[in-house]
């Protein structure tokens, strides 16, 4: 496993950009690939579980703005979800008659309780977790930390050597 390197100096802006775009990419850039893969898989699984529960309108920039902001923090996942939602809204707007809500019900995409709570909690919490990862990647790169931390050598029973006269 790669050990912490003093020579390599990561660029904070690049780490921030990568972590925002793809969950875990910031950690991969900082030579922590196992952590990056775990973050990518977990956040992706959470977001798409939410999308599976709530359907295409889980990411809803019109009616659920705060959840939308949280969901957008998942980067590429959120953008794919937003693209799907926009396509549905555009298509429903072209249909004549009825209000938008009635059209959504008729299309079978309207989100109702309790599926909306669970779906948005999964997708939104995925985004908030990625915010934590973005912050971690940014702080590590600002501190110049690159690679896995060096293994600790715990020797609690070993007495320190007395200085020789």
């Amino acid at each position: 496993m790669t050990k912490q390197s003093e020579q390599a100096t990561p660029m904070p802006f690049l780490a921030l950009l990568l972590a925002c775009a793809v969950p875990g990419a910031g950690h991969v850039y900082l030579r922590r690939p196992v952590r990056g893969i775990i973050i990518f898989v977990t956040i992706g699984a959470m977001f798409w579980s939410g999308m599976a529960m709530g359907g295409v309108l889980t990411v809803d920039s019109v009616h659920e703005r705060w959840w939308f902001v949280a969901e957008m923090l998942t980067g590429v996942h959120g953008l794919i979800g937003w693209h799907g939602q926009r396509a549905v809204y555009e298509r429903l707007r072209t249909v004549q008659g009825d209000s938008l809500d009635e059209k959504m019900v008729r299309e079978g995409v309207a989100l109702v309780t309790p599926a909306d709570t669970a779906a948005r909690a999964y997708a939104g919490v995925a985004g908030l977790l990625n915010l934590m990862c973005i912050f971690d990647a940014l702080m590590l790169s600002v501190m110049g930390v690159c690679g896995e931390p060096a293994a600790k050598t715990d020797t609690p029973n070993k007495k320190p050597k007395a200085p020789s006269p």
Binding site: T42, M46, G55, L57, G108, A110, V125, L129
Partner: protein
């Protein structure tokens, strides 16, 4: 609606089935949190399990307390 499609149409969830969904949510939160915090990745499974137990017990106590207030508060 012609046919149900995954990622397009919402699922039908019951209220009590929704409560079970808190376990995978807590597990995922614990997994991501411990992944960025832990020093040695070999200890990850144990740390996640401990954190998951803390979260589930804490949420259960909170839920019981709130239920008690809701039921018995004058």
């Amino acid at each position: 609606m012609i046919a149900w499609a995954l990622f397009y149409n919402p699922m039908t969830l019951g209220f009590y089935s929704e409560l079970w969904l808190v376990f995978p949510l807590c597990a995922a939160v614990g997994l991501v949190y411990k992944t960025i915090r832990i020093h040695d990745l070999r200890r990850l499974p144990r740390e996640i399990l401990v954190l998951l137990i803390y979260m589930v017990v804490g949420l259960s106590v909170l839920a019981t307390a709130l239920w008690g207030i809701h039921e018995y508060w004058p």
